[in-house]
């Protein structure tokens, strides 16, 4: 299970009462309104940085609804598995969680919506899809809609986009760039590329595949052709 990052905890949004209205499939309408300027900035950062940025953005919704809906636990596990897949996509055992029966519920609906849109954003980033930036910017729209006050999120996003734009610029020759650890979503953590192996190792090692139905077990990973030691980096 992912633990709440300190910068989100400090923002005061964790578990705040719901103040928005929701209807079935609203996440699609919101994602369609992806801000153009965010897309422009995201286009200028590497695919791997976009991948991690998407998950970092999506986490604000998980923590915002923390303790409000039972589905939060499943969404948390799913996003943890997506983090693992940023290192190797074979870690992700289930592509996307099953749809809830009632997508109009104001907690379940956005959580399912963010799962679906994070899968799209992560896939688009992995494939360097032409709509890579739009998919990630769409996640921003969903998150902002659910926050009672977007100030802390907006500040974090602006800082993180500026940091990532500087540290992980898009390069046509190496569009993927380095894998960006979850820890680097924290604006207080310096972006030191020599720390990548240690940060990714800790990120994977902290994951408990036995408690997370979206993570592949070492046996399943071996069967899928995974070489080396699962849940370690480098493997």
């Amino acid at each position: 299970m992912l633990q709440v990052p300190s910068y989100i905890d400090r923002s005061g949004i964790v578990g705040l009462p719901i103040q928005y209205k929701w209807k079935s499939h609203l996440h699609m309408t919101l994602a369609d309104k992806a801000p153009k300027n965010i897309q422009t900035v995201i286009q200028s950062i590497s695919c791997n940085a976009t991948f991690s940025l998407s998950l970092g953005i999506g986490e604000w919704l998980i923590w915002r609804l923390h303790g409000i809906s039972n589905r939060v636990v499943a969404t948390n596990c799913y996003v943890e598995a997506l983090w693992a897949s940023s290192v190797d996509d074979r870690y992700l055992k289930v592509q996307i969680p099953p749809q809830p029966k009632d997508q109009s519920d104001p907690a379940t609906g956005p959580l399912y919506g963010i799962e679906a849109k994070l899968f799209r954003a992560a896939t688009n980033a992995s494939l360097n899809h032409p709509e890579r930036a739009k998919a990630t910017a769409g996640v921003v729209s969903i998150v902002r809609y659910t926050l009672p006050d977007t100030t802390a999120f907006d500040d974090w996003l602006k800082t993180t986009l500026a940091r990532f734009g500087h540290a992980f610029p898009y390069d046509n020759d190496i569009p993927k760039g380095v894998i960006v650890p979850r820890k680097w979503l924290d604006p207080g953590v310096p972006l030191d590329v020599t720390a990548i192996p240690e940060l990714l190792d800790r990120q994977l090692h902290d994951m408990d595949y036995e408690q997370n139905p979206f993570l592949a077990s070492p046996t399943e990973l071996k069967a899928a052709g995974f070489q080396g030691e699962p849940y370690r980096y480098p493997s």
Binding site: D32, A34, P35, K36, N37, I38, Q39, T40, V41, I42, Q43, E131, A133, K134, A137, R144, D154, L157, K158, L161, A162, G165
Partner: protein, 245 residues
Amino acid sequence: MTLRTPSYVPSRIFEEPSIRYAWDDWDVSPFYLSIDEELMAEWANLAEPAICGLTIAISEWVFFRQRRFESDPTPMQCLEAAWCANIDRRYSEGLEVSREKWLGPVRGPLRVAMNLLHSTLYEAYGGADKPVEGPSLMSNLTEHVCGITDEFREWRTQCIARLQEYYVAPPPLTDLFDEQLARIVVPREVFDLQRSFHPDEAPLLVDQFLRGIDFRSNPFLLTPEAMLQEGFEGIPYRLNSTRSK
């Protein structure tokens, strides 16, 4: 129809009594489909409504050039709807016309112009990229249909200079949520170089333009009822007060 003949299209262009250019409906690409990267760089830093406005203004040379030969109101309706769509895309569902109904040396270029307006205003909309090819492609078509003239290029150069003065896109990081971008409106009057212009008057000019639109006589435009049903906030065919700040 509410659009007056623009002062910047020389009268000899729209009074030209004959067609003097080659046209082949089955291979139109040589008449407009080349990209001038150097030229595009002149407006690449502008806000999207300015790039779209420049494309529409250039298209007026084609539309008014052909008016003498074509009584079908569709092109002028399309032009009017394009100006509306540059204020808010929800005024229209699109500006495209089918090839089958728009063939020949008069209707063919009109079709290409209408479809270029559609692609400039609608196909890139919502994505990360600005439709920077729009003014370039429309310029090619205009120069093919109207002839390459110093007047056209000089007018375009001055338009770009005016747009550069007032309509440079805000840096994306300073306007992450498109709030500044959403307030940018580019009235048709910007392209009338005989007239002075200051961006402070843009909201009023755009509001006057919208108020004068007879949406019922233009099939490209949606009625206020239809727009409100689709979730349009504010009053259709008025410039929303939140945008006019």
